[in-house]
């Protein structure tokens, strides 16, 4: 039941935030350009998707850094920190379109690969490097001969931009097809790699490369939405760890930066020792207990 509820939330959210139907009509490119585009959606969602109603936070941050009048990115950084403090990586599990796409690909019935822990643990750090270098460092400091910056992550790595923006726009608009070259081929190659690996590995982009997931992971231990373990009830059976596709051990590290708050561990726990909680609720419970 919980699994279907999460899928429903993911699908409804994806439809709501990409609901500009006019953008999907063939002809001249016609992106939504109303006031909502001033605001960022919480998940990775290319703002060049024909249906996008909001801005991608990672794209927005780079837009500020690569602008001629380079800014500090306080608007986006403050927004992302606030979202991270409220929900942490709950966003990844419930409100990210690209995460949903990877999950659906993983549903294709094939043998699945569990990356060996030793390699997996090292690869997880890559997303922090992507955040530091491709999203912040290079776009902020590098300037070309004309004084413009380059959004390195969007331009050279982001598969969401190719899937949600590039391919639909190129298919819908003849005029854009004339501009296709080596960069587009590179991005399609990368996308194919992620699509293929998503069939065998659970959310590989989220695990290893997503800079947005890396940013939210920094707030996981202090976010309002947290996971709690009832240590008195836990029988240490390992069912939660087995159920976790993100390779976390929820009973030992419930607020790990790798947990996307999908809640599958809670469903798997035979004694219901795991639950979502907030600091607010804890206070209420203490109050109830003392009365």
């Amino acid at each position: 039941m919980g699994k279907y509820r999460r899928k429903a939330v993911q699908v409804v959210w994806a439809a709501l935030t990409n609901g500009f139907v006019k953008g999907f009509l063939p002809g001249t490119p016609n992106l939504y350009s109303g006031p909502l585009k001033h605001f960022c959606v919480p998940g990775l969602n290319c703002y060049s998707c024909p249906g996008a109603l909001g801005a991608c936070p990672i794209g927005a941050l780079q837009a500020v850094y690569t602008d001629r009048h380079r800014g500090a990115g306080l608007y986006v950084l403050g927004y992302l920190a606030a979202v991270g403090l409220l929900a942490g990586r709950f966003i990844c599990g419930w409100l990210c379109l690209f995460g949903l796409i990877q999950e659906l690909l993983y549903k294709i019935p094939t043998p699945k690969i569990r990356v060996p822990e030793r390699i997996d643990r090292k690869l997880r750090y890559l997303k922090y490097a992507v955040l530091a270098l491709l999203v912040v460092g290079l776009p902020f400091f590098y300037r070309d001969a004309f004084g413009s910056g380059v959004p390195f992550f969007c331009e050279y790595l982001c598969p969401a931009g190719t899937l949600e923006g590039g391919i639909p726009l190129v298919l819908l608009n003849k005029s854009l097809r004339a501009g296709l070259g080596a960069l587009f081929r590179w991005k399609v190659f990368l996308l194919a790699l992620f699509v293929l690996s998503s069939i065998f590995i659970y959310r590989p982009f989220c695990k290893y490369l997503c800079p947005l997931g890396a940013f939210y992971a920094l707030f996981q231990k202090v976010s309002l939405v947290r996971m709690r373990v009832d240590e008195g009830a836990c029988i240490d059976c390992g069912a939660c760890e087995k159920a976790c596709h993100m390779n976390v051990a929820p009973c030992r590290t419930p607020n790990s930066g790798e947990c996307i708050r999908c809640g599958e561990c809670m469903e798997a726990c035979p004694v219901k020792a795991l639950s979502f909680g907030t600091g607010l609720r804890k206070k209420e419970r203490i109050k109830e207990e003392t009365v």
């Binding site: 990115g73 608007y75 331009e155 982001c158 296709l180 991005k187 231990k221 202090v222 907030t278 206070k283």
Partner: protein, 48 residues
Amino acid sequence: MKKEVPLKVTVIMLAAAAAVCAIGVLLGEPQTVFAKAASICLECIGIG
């Protein structure tokens, strides 16, 4: 198990994040975001 970070810390950090965001708004950063987001980002889609 490690002790949880108190709610007070989260609230203080949230207030700081909101303040940082507000400063960004005052500096006009939403306009830069809008200018980029409202038109096709050629770099994002692999053309630029």
